[in-house]
Symmetry: C2
């Protein structure tokens, strides 16, 4: 099908992390029935340079049209293919506290290539309830087959949960618990700490000069709000 223009090159890690950002912007534009976008626009919205956008997208294949930018439908298809959105991975979420609920209820988290197949919790009051159409099972029930487990339990329970996942043949863990997990070789653990971004922001506040934004994911100031425009000269922080 669409793959004629696709190039299957190895993508760099930063590029992979930016693709979902581009995808989200492209979906916004599709929702607004805008049909084309150029690298400068996409870069501004994503908070990266136009060159970076072009370099990233060129890694997927020849998606653009010289002189005319990118067709958003083509972008959507090709980024989706690169991220594996045409396939589906089975995902279980373990721990239905506030964070687990937030992820399951989120419109953006478990869409696009991920299929939720099971929810688990330890609390007897929660087990048996239905969240977003999914029955919550007891943590000590046999675990459903899945490719990825999302761990949202308290730190003190995280290692035991990880052990159960590995025992159930799940070799990719997305760990939201602030806890070092010991897993056998061959199991991937991806840790997410929600406090890191705040810590980095605080560091830059205290030290005056952050690069405006400074992360991989930041929306740079948009030029269409000239009323508040501050000169880039001195201490734009605080």
């Amino acid at each position: 099908m669409t793959s004629s223009r696709l190039r299957r090159r190895k993508l760099s890690e930063p590029t992979i992390a930016r693709l979902p950002v581009y995808q989200r912007i492209v979906e916004e534009w599709i929702g607004q029935e805008r049909s084309r976008i150029d690298s400068a626009q996409l870069g501004e919205l994503a908070g990266v340079t136009a060159t970076t956008v072009r370099r990233d997208l060129a890694g997927l294949g020849t998606l653009g049209t010289r002189g005319a930018g990118y067709d958003v439908a083509i972008l959507h298809t090709c980024i989706g293919e690169a991220l594996g959105h045409d396939q589906h991975c089975d995902v279980v979420v373990i721990g239905m506290g506030n964070l687990g609920r937030a992820l399951v209820n989120s419109s953006s988290f478990l869409t696009r290539g991920a299929r939720l197949v099971g929810l688990y919790d330890a609390d007897p009051l929660v087990v048996g309830t239905v969240i977003d159409g999914h029955l919550v099972r007891a943590i000590d029930e046999p675990m459903i087959a899945a490719s990825v487990a999302v761990i949202c339990v308290p730190a003190s329970a995280a290692q035991a949960v990880a052990d159960r996942c590995v025992g159930a043949g799940i070799h990719a863990l997305l760990n939201f618990a602030p806890q070092v997990l010991a897993v056998p070789l061959g199991t991937a653990v991806h840790d997410v700490d929600l406090s890191i971004e705040l810590q980095v922001l605080l560091y830059h506040l205290h030290n005056g000069t952050g690069p405006l934004g400074g992360g991989l994911l930041h929306a740079l100031a948009r030029a269409d709000a000239p009323a508040h425009r501050t000169p880039p000269a001195e201490t734009p922080w605080h």
Copy 2:
């Protein structure tokens, strides 16, 4: 205070993002009453090489003892100083849905350098309730003075909330809404997209080669990794 050994060099962005990870590990060790750690141990727990640990820590000053590693108390003090934990920034959290509650209830998010000064929500049923000791105010009340706003509202409300924050003089936004925010120059927006981590994991699953191993932190530079204060008493790290 202890600053004699401190060096106030500009730290690289990846280093800044790793410091909270080191800090959390150090706090675990302090909780276990272990007094020294070496770069190899710290690196293994953090998921980075020993050399990277030494390079990062050397950027803070001469913290170690050749032949004997690092004193965890000194590490804790100096990393804390580098991250600005001795000062505090006032933070408001806007949007008390599951995600906002998860952040406020988290033991690791609003500690260390951040002081929660206000909660806001749009839902009349939530306004007036108390969450973790803090009264929830209506989103249209005048906003309390703060340095940082954490935005946890739905995407459709995020821009309006950002505008209110800017109007209230808040120039650092941590945005959890999957929405591009337009802000005037001089305001920093840090976007955190929880779905990105899962997307990256899925990409690696589909493409065979993912980074694997048991460390806390893998090579990804941003929006990644942990930091946290362990509960008192024992922590089962195997």
